[in-house]
């Protein structure tokens, strides 16, 4: 259930409660009390219409109505106030109940829509950006020649700074076994520029991708990156499933864990 749906439901509930309460009040107000206390039995049936008892009751009712006209108006206002207050409280209670049961929402970016524009690095209100590169290890080829780590025209497949594509050297290359290497992201250094993401997607399996890290994100009402994202890759997702990690993207049981 998204936010819009949630608000609509709350409003509907409030309006419905008001209508029901108002209807009950009006029915009660217009109800004529035909109960006769003579012998504790009501005589006001169609068989006795026009009988002395009935006439007496009618005239007594008319007199009472005249006498208590002022009182009824006051009661009406009081009851109306009470009802309005009750309806409002019921609405608020319903709203609160829905809010408790509904998920909160957080910002996340869809890695399959990302176009590596670099704006995640510069437009986040947090510095450095709360958007970081994450690594879907199950997609990685563990290549010696990593398109996300090495510059395309690197003079050697080494960890030398001049060969690294990342402007902040945030990717750590570790030897696993000949000829495989593992690549890990140092999130303290990562600025979310997506340069490695473009390299990995263009030349490799696309295992490197960006995600909003929720331990860093301040969850602004309007995400300042989403505002300038040219691919509309940012969206609100339920806080219970805050990540869209490649690889297990479609595995609903496990898509809330960062890589």
């Amino acid at each position: 259930m998204d936010r819009k749906e949630f608000i609509e439901k709350s409003l509907r509930l409030g309006v419905l409660t008001g209508i029901i309460g108002g209807s009950v009040f009006l029915i009660k107000r217009n109800k004529i009390d035909f109960t006769c206390s003579v012998d504790g039995v009501c005589k006001s049936c169609s068989l006795f219409t026009g009988c002395d008892l009935d006439k007496a009751k009618q005239s007594r009712n008319d007199e009472r109505k005249k006498d208590s006209k002022q009182t009824n108006r006051r009661e009406f206002i009081q009851k109306g106030m009470r009802l309005t207050l009750g309806a409002s409280l019921a609405g608020v209670a319903g709203f609160a109940a829905l809010k408790v049961s509904a998920d909160d929402y957080v910002w996340q970016l869809d890695p399959f829509k990302c176009v590596y524009c670099g704006r995640c690095a510069d437009y986040c209100v947090v510095t450095p950006s709360a958007v970081k590169c994450v690594h879907a290890f199950d997609l990685c080829g563990y290549c010696d020649l990593c398109g996300g780590y090495l510059k395309p025209d690197a003079n050697a497949r080494s960890t030398a700074a001049e060969n690294q594509l990342c402007p902040t050297a945030a990717i750590k290359r570790k030897f696993v076994e000949d000829p495989y290497f593992e690549y890990e992201i140092d999130e303290e250094l990562c600025i979310g520029c997506a340069k490695c993401v473009e390299g990995c997607t263009s030349f490799g399996n696309g295992s490197l991708h960006l995600q909003v890290r929720h331990d860093l994100c301040v969850n602004c009402n309007e995400c300042s990156i989403a505002r300038v994202c040219p691919a509309d890759a940012f969206e609100r997702v339920p806080a219970s499933q805050p990540y869209k990690i490649k690889g297990d993207f479609t595995n609903k049981d496990d898509n809330n864990k960062p890589a």
């Binding site: 670099g118 704006r119 290549c143 020649l145 473009e198 263009s202 030349f203 490799g204 040219p230």
Partner: protein, 322 residues
Amino acid sequence: MKHRKLINTILIVMAIGIVIIVARDFVVNRSGKNIENPYAFDVSEYAKVDSSEIIYQEEKVLQLKVDEPKGIDFYNEAIYVIADSSLLKLNQQGQLLQEIQLGDEPTAIDAGPQVWLAFKNQIVCIDENGKELQRWPDFGPRSVVTSLAVSPEYVYVADAGNRLVYQFSRDGKLIREIGAKDEQKAVPGFIIPSPYFDVDLNEEGYLWAVDPGRHSLENFNADGSLRTSWTISSVKTEGFSGCCNPAHMAIMSEDKFVTSEKGIVRVKIYDQHGEYLGVVATANQFNEVSHAPDVCVSDDGKVILLDFDRKQVRLFNPKESD
């Protein structure tokens, strides 16, 4: 009074200035507007090809009415395409000659007098009418068969999952596994980072296998020892770049190689020693986000591509020399 007018004027000018700045910020920084990327990594630079290097031209496009094309081969003037769970036989004009339902989704094909098909981890041989002649037991859950090459004596099966080429007799007897790391035979072992692992046979019947993680093509003797290999690892047009290229390969007359690459999608030709000859199709002839096309060659030297994204069979002819 005079001061009051001055102050009002200044306030109005400031208000206008603020409105202009806010409006400009709103318009300029809106999504979709061109904001310069200070971290730009222009991959398209590497996709550019000098026109003099393009030695083929597109002759014909055959549109397929399928959901998911899987592989292509050429035999006896006919194009064989596997797609969805069918085998399609087309002539070069695009006329559908035959369609055989396979009951499962094939992953690789080798067309000849008999058609050999791979189904993820199984091999099936059918005759020209689709009658099943052989079905071999599967190679296990790790197996991902990506390519087949069939000689008169042997069937070579490229298994990307196990990083091996199996050499079978034609009746299904496993003779040997080729490509496992073996220092005695000088075999370095295949590096297969993704399920792109192609094999083919040259004119003499020797096996050539792509080693995509090394940007190599490796040639094996019948006993599984390494015969020769060539490697060109470079981001320039004449080389292979990325984690796993070439993704597909076919051998044409004079043992020339047609290679197809992913990442920067392009199709190129190399001579028998791995010398770069030229380009068949450049990246701008494919969709912006595209898969490496499967390749095969016709007897008259046409390069035939299976474009997975456009669902087309594309025929390329050598350009006539001036």
